[in-house]
């Protein structure tokens, strides 16, 4: 179902832990990287691959916010709005991004390029406000550098 490299990586993970089931989170990350999101058929496949039931897998997926059950934008802009970021102006950044992209939290631009997500503390409170675009951190945000960051994404 996945690329050869991904399948090999899954094999490696399943052999790595004292109990196979422990590998479920890293395996799901691989699946999500391959497919962009975790559809039912992907979960069925992961379950079979791990010797689990579909239910075992789907209940894990639904617990964790970093797994997506629906397609999302190419770039997931994850903006922290927790207190340290808020004190340093994250709400202004939020308004700026919302105006710039014409979407609010939980929405994706019609061209499928950006999704805007409100996230909890990312551990960058000393360099607030912060956002993650997919897995990359961007700190000390201002409306100006947010423009730069978003405009320069490939």
């Amino acid at each position: 179902m996945f690329s050869q490299q991904a399948e090999r990586e899954i094999d490696r993970l399943l052999a790595r832990y004292p109990r196979k089931r422990s590998a479920i989170i890293p395996v799901l990350f691989i699946a999500q990287k391959e497919r962009g999101y975790l559809s039912d058929d992907v979960l069925e496949y992961v379950a079979k691959r791990m010797g689990l039931t579909y239910l075992d897998v789907v209940t894990v997926v639904s617990f964790y916010t970093m797994f997506y059950r629906r397609p999302i934008g190419k770039y997931n802009i994850q903006l922290c709005n927790n207190v340290s970021c808020m004190l340093c102006g994250s709400e202004k950044i939020q308004e700026h991004i919302e105006r710039k992209l014409g979407i609010t939290f939980g929405q994706t631009t019609p061209d499928g390029r950006f999704t805007l997500t409100e996230v909890q503390c990312l551990g960058s409170c000393g360099t607030a406000p912060v956002m993650q675009v997919n897995f990359d951190y961007y700190e000390n945000l201002t409306p100006e550098n947010v423009d730069q960051i978003l405009d320069s994404l490939p």
């Binding site: 790595r16 109990r19 989170i25 990350f29 964790y64 207190v83 340290s84 004190l87 909890q120 000393g126």
Partner: protein
């Protein structure tokens, strides 16, 4: 003051094995494996009065001592790198700048409790650090510090870096174990404690990143030396995460018992734009808020902060200036706890959501005096009625804020009056 745990933070490339070795790296591991019994290691850590730096502050040596020596089951050490307590960003510094220091601490801890497999459970958002730690472990393995027959002493220990996937609750140690077993991160009922029944039902110790990173220093310079750096009940220094309205936010290594005021004004450079202090959250989102007056005399230590009705927590100090709206900051905290409640215990699941609704009503201008009473009542009734500390933390984020900053909350009530008059 001599910097210890952060001493290597400023050394270029200290995250590389050769540089780490040049600066005293893996000497403590060698000492432990060649000169000390596991019991002696535990004894030294007990003498140090090192307390868990993740939030609960449990004495580390005692925790290690709880692991049964005669158990035929494998034992595990788990490093808790799920750093997600709002305001906290210190563990990230250690993993970024001195990762071998953490690996060395993990290996010493594993030796002390008799574990041959250790895990680093790292929050999924720190993906770049997960990859970094994997590279660092490979490097250490090639150097003979990780894996089989470490330093030729016959001690085996491997380390797996395991990602979380975005759930604050997995920082709670038993929820972390559930997650590591490949399940939803629901906290377990205690007892039994993980030291006897932990990962896969086997004896397990879970320690925070910073806690483990202190261990090599304690081994090299002695438990008594470390103890003397701090206070009577809590040894050593801590990494404080300073954020909010200060001139110089950042991670500061300072002793236990350090005056909060000095951290804010001397280290942090005071309040931004010459403003006055209004409030401080001293130990992450889970610790009750202090007024400026209370902050005046507060010292960063477990018992003195407990006497002020708050706690040391993860050492995350969030500073708020005179213009801060405590209703909005408290709303942010309660939204966080409502989002992160795992839903298992009714008082937490329902209480946090109920509080969110009340805050939204207040902020819209439709709040009443009764809403403020209800926030306090909910807080009182959630506290102590959930089986992990998340419910307590949520209660503590709200109740004391309403009581101490009532004027902020009442502004929203009068605003409603103004709206009605319009």
């Amino acid at each position: 003051m001599e910097r210890i745990i952060s001493a290597r933070f400023d050394i270029p490339n200290a995250d590389q094995l050769d540089v780490y070795l040049e600066h005293g790296g893996y000497r403590a591991l060698k000492k432990v494996l060649t000169e000390m019994t596991p019991e002696q290691v535990i004894e030294e850590v007990k003498k140090s009065a090192l307390r868990g730096c993740g939030g609960a502050g449990f004495p580390t040596g005692m925790k290690w001592g709880f692991v049964p020596k005669d158990s035929p089951k494998p034992k595990y050490l788990v490093c808790n790198a799920d750093e997600s307590e709002p305001g906290t960003f210190k563990d990230r510094q250690i993993m970024e700048k001195d990762p071998h220091g953490l690996i060395e601490g993990i290996l010493i801890g594993a030796y002390a409790i008799g574990a041959h497999l250790a895990f680093i459970y790292i929050r999924g958002e720190y993906w770049y650090l997960k990859e970094k730690l994997e590279r660092v472990i490979d490097e250490a393995r090639q150097g003979g510090y990780v894996g089989r027959n470490i330093l030729g002493t016959g001690f085996d220990c491997d380390i797996i870096v395991h990602p979380g996937a975005g759930a604050y609750i997995c920082g709670e140690e038993t929820a972390l174990l559930e997650s590591l077993e490949g399940k939803r991160g629901y906290p377990r009922l205690k007892p039994p404690f993980p030291a006897s029944v932990g990962l896969y039902g086997c004896p397990t110790v879970i320690n925070n990143v910073e806690t483990l990173a202190w261990v090599p220093h304690i081994i090299l310079r002695g438990g008594e030396w470390f103890h003397r750096l701090g206070t009577e009940k809590s040894g050593g220094h801590r990494l404080y995460s300073l954020s909010g309205h200060v001139v110089r936010p950042g991670v500061y290594e300072r002793p236990l018992g350090y005056p909060l005021k000095r951290l804010i004004y001397e280290d942090g450079g005071g309040i931004r734009d010459g403003k006055r202090l209004k409030a401080v959250v001293p130990g992450g989102a889970s610790s009750p808020i202090l007024t400026a007056e209370e902050a005046e005399s507060a010292t960063l230590d477990y018992e003195p902060l407990a006497a002020l009705g708050t706690m040391m927590g993860s050492g995350a100090v969030i500073v708020m200036d005179e213009d801060t709206d405590i209703v909005r900051t408290t709303y942010s905290f309660i939204k966080f706890f409502a989002h992160e409640s795992c839903g298992w215990c009714v008082p937490c699941r329902e209480g946090t959501r109920w509080m969110v609704k009340i805050f939204e009503r207040l902020l819209r201008g439709g709040g009443t005096e009764r809403d403020l009473e209800m926030l306090v009542t909910l807080s009182d009734n959630m506290f102590g009625r959930t089986h992990c500390p998340l419910g307590d933390a949520a209660a503590w984020a709200v109740g004391p804020a309403v009581k101490k900053f009532r004027a902020d909350f009442e502004r929203y009530l009068t605003r409603r009056g103004a709206v009605a008059a319009d």
